[in-house]
Symmetry: C4
Subunit: 285 residues, 4 copies
């Protein structure tokens, strides 16, 4: 009978709607006192655990490293419990698990467990920092959220263009890298030892990063790389142009009020009268 009672208790716990609602308010929302306190504490924990991981990579004394690793385990345990609680109290656990924040929450606890098998994997818990994006929601910085949303919208609208552009860039850097390999590989002191290295050089050059770990030394190689740089100069203009054009369009579209008389749109946000026919515009809600 004790066995049945345990199972029953578990069942009851799983369907305890009052507890679920209470937990949901604390964990997911941030309007109540405890909800806000929990969120602020959570952000603090995330920041602290990221800082501890960064320190861990700096430390070489064994006993100090051990302490830091213990802290990391504590935080990971806490985040694991939090993740389970979120799954438990969410009205739609599957939707949460598949949402952007759900995946981020999962990713931020997995690396520590992988760390049992690969020693460096535990540093991946720095990915936990993506959880900090919650900060805007917690502190009601909706203006910022909207700006970020607008940014993402602009980028998504130009996504197709940027993808086409990238395929073109990849073909270009592979071709240029190979040409440079053909030109430079004959020289005894060359740094262009194989095609992948040359393609790496082409990317470093065309993006104007220019480390200088691989540089041409033959006159023909230098001439070719000068052409590549001037090419990259123009090519860098393309994504900028795409994003600028897309952002400007977004700005223009921001006011959707149509004039009740001439039905034209494109009024400014603070406009009260149609700039085309002078009729009064309705106020935005």
């Amino acid at each position: 009978m004790a066995k049945i009672s345990l199972k029953e208790r578990w069942e009851r716990f799983l369907h305890n709607e009052v507890l679920k609602k209470k937990l949901y308010e604390i964990i997911f929302e941030s309007d109540t006192f405890w909800g806000k306190t929990f969120d602020v504490a959570l952000i603090g924990c995330i920041l602290l655990s990221v800082i501890i991981t960064i320190c861990d990579s700096l430390v070489t004394t064994p006993w100090l490293e051990t302490i830091l690793v213990v802290f990391e385990y504590c935080f990971t345990l806490f985040f694991t419990l939090e993740y389970l609680a979120r799954l438990y109290c969410s009205p739609a656990p599957k939707a949460y698990a598949r949402s952007f924040f759900g995946i981020i929450d999962l990713i931020s606890i997995l690396p520590m467990y992988l760390g049992f098998f690969f020693s460096t994997a535990r540093f991946a818990i720095v990915l936990r920092s993506f959880r900090l994006i919650r900060v805007f929601r917690v502190f009601k910085l909706f203006d910022f959220l909207e700006e970020g949303h607008l940014l993402l919208l602009s980028l998504r609208k130009s996504f197709n263009k940027i993808l086409v552009f990238f395929l073109f860039v990849v073909i270009l850097v592979v071709s240029i890298g190979t040409l440079m390999f053909m030109v430079e590989s004959g020289h005894p002191d060359t740094a262009f030892t194989d095609i992948p290295t040359s393609v790496y050089w082409a990317i470093v050059t065309m993006t104007t990063v220019g480390y200088g770990d691989i540089t041409p030394i033959t006159p023909l190689g230098r001439f070719l790389s000068a052409v590549v740089m001037l090419l990259g100069y123009t090519i860098i203009a393309v994504p900028t142009g795409i994003v600028s054009a897309s952002m400007i369009k977004e700005y223009h579209r921001k006011d959707q009020r149509a004039c009740p008389n001439c039905h034209r749109i494109g009024h400014e946000e603070n406009a009260r009268f149609c700039k085309h026919c002078g009729s009064e515009l309705e106020e935005e809600v």
Copy 2:
């Protein structure tokens, strides 16, 4: 009689319209099952042959290199046959040979044959990767094709401007390179050994690549190069401005309303009347 029959057979083959049409469907189009299969296989072969060439540059074991070269010859033989088949079945072989894809197809088989004479020439078959642009047509990604087309259109419209800009940049880097050579060449440890090297430095600096293989060491040289950098800072804005302006113009013209009277499109977003015939346009929904 056998001889005549051979010539005759060749003649018949050359004018076998049924075979030509069948081949055309398979090679040029991708609507039928075999057409699609052929195109997918072709893309696979291109990718594979590019990857083999890249591996070839990495490999140093002689027997492995021999195997890879043999593979490269097989692929080139296949692409040569494909090129001949394209010429054979195309309704307008000359037009195909002179088209963008026709030239790319030819370029992608030539280097291997040049490789008999220059050992490194065979790596140029990486240029074959340009054939991958077909991928959009094969998988019906017309949206992407249109985006790419719009990109090219924007760039072509600003081509004159960019050419003028480049002539200006070339004159500028030659002059700046010479000035730096005059300033820096007196120092015993200078890297500015001659004018071409200095011009190369000027290009590396003005495009903000900045390898650091050639850097000024005299105070005057450093001052001059600081001026050059700040100059390059403003100059980098010019192609970006050109491309942005051109792209924004393209976006604005995208309005798809057709005039109800003359049926022409291309009106601006805020237009109320057709700019070609003066009829009233319908408002966009």
Copy 3:
């Protein structure tokens, strides 16, 4: 009585409105002869003291350094007296002390006094150069001031967007730096010794600065950094797009037509009716 008289004299000096007004005209304004002379002399002193500080860092001979430090003290004394005079003659001393220029004026004298405690702190008087912004007011270059104001306005309008963007960039570089640390730290000659160094590398790379003091050497590390560069290539487009869009909007709003009815300005170029009261606007000439 002598004591009282001293206090009284001090009181009288503090409330000497004639002297205050005279001083105000000389120090704060630049319309009168002495006002302009003072401002020009001030700008000369600022330039000179900045140049002397720069020379101070170059000089190694002890006696020459002593002379320069003495000069620096003299200038600082002069600027201290000027600051006190400004506080004295300003009609609203507190407002002045809290204004942009008031804070700059204070900052430009503090470092020298801190220099008693930390030897290198005295170089911070170079911050004095921010006082040179006065040059536009002194020489009546109001056009320039207006342009600068417009620039600031554009930037302030896009401040929220840029802040969101920066938080995103910070999270990104921390994550990328950690990933690169995990990939590269295994190699014996690695430069990625800890996470902060790797994050520094990620910033150097994504901003396309590319010093080359830390570069990946493993094939996987090079591949990852190529991805990071191409990412940075697109990301660099975002602030440019934000600022461009914001500046274009500012330009569009520059229309100077005032409404004949409500006298308000700020209409768009293509507006025919006032957006505030609906009256017809006059056409621009």
Copy 4:
């Protein structure tokens, strides 16, 4: 009498209008056969003399250098005679001498004569390459000239803004350079040896050139330089935004036709009817 005759002949030569007109047609214009031939030959000479100067810097064999210098003198003699002929046949010699091309023409002959005094000064004749801008006029590439003109106009319109921006950048790099000097100069292996070097570093970093000859090594220095880079990331957007906005405005203003009915401007180039009221527009001349 012979003496008088010589002076008289000189007088006659100076006022020989027929010769002047003939020469003017050949030297200044390029419509006649000889005019065009002369201009093409001139462009050839300029290119050749620039190439010879560049070769001169490459050559180390004394006798070869002598030959090249002799060639340089011949070209300079030719350009000197051409400059004098231009002054002689121009209807307004002073206006020519003060025009852009007049100054370029003078600059392109002076360095060789200065070369008598300073041995490296002769390389400055590379500035001769600016004369190549004539190429557009000679080959009637007026479209290109117009594009260049539009570019210059855009830049000139944003000149005030860019100047304000540059003053700000100069103050910023001086301040940042000094801060980095204060932070880094304590380290024994520092490359930040004095303030000018640090300011040079600040410019190299903020323009994203990033040579890597001077890099921070202390943790605080690296943190500060990361902030500087992210700052430069945003600042690089400002000139781009200025130029883009200015170019877009130029595009918009390109059609100045006002509608005869509603008097509004801003129609597209190929528009026949007003987009606002549908009235017919006048054709552009």
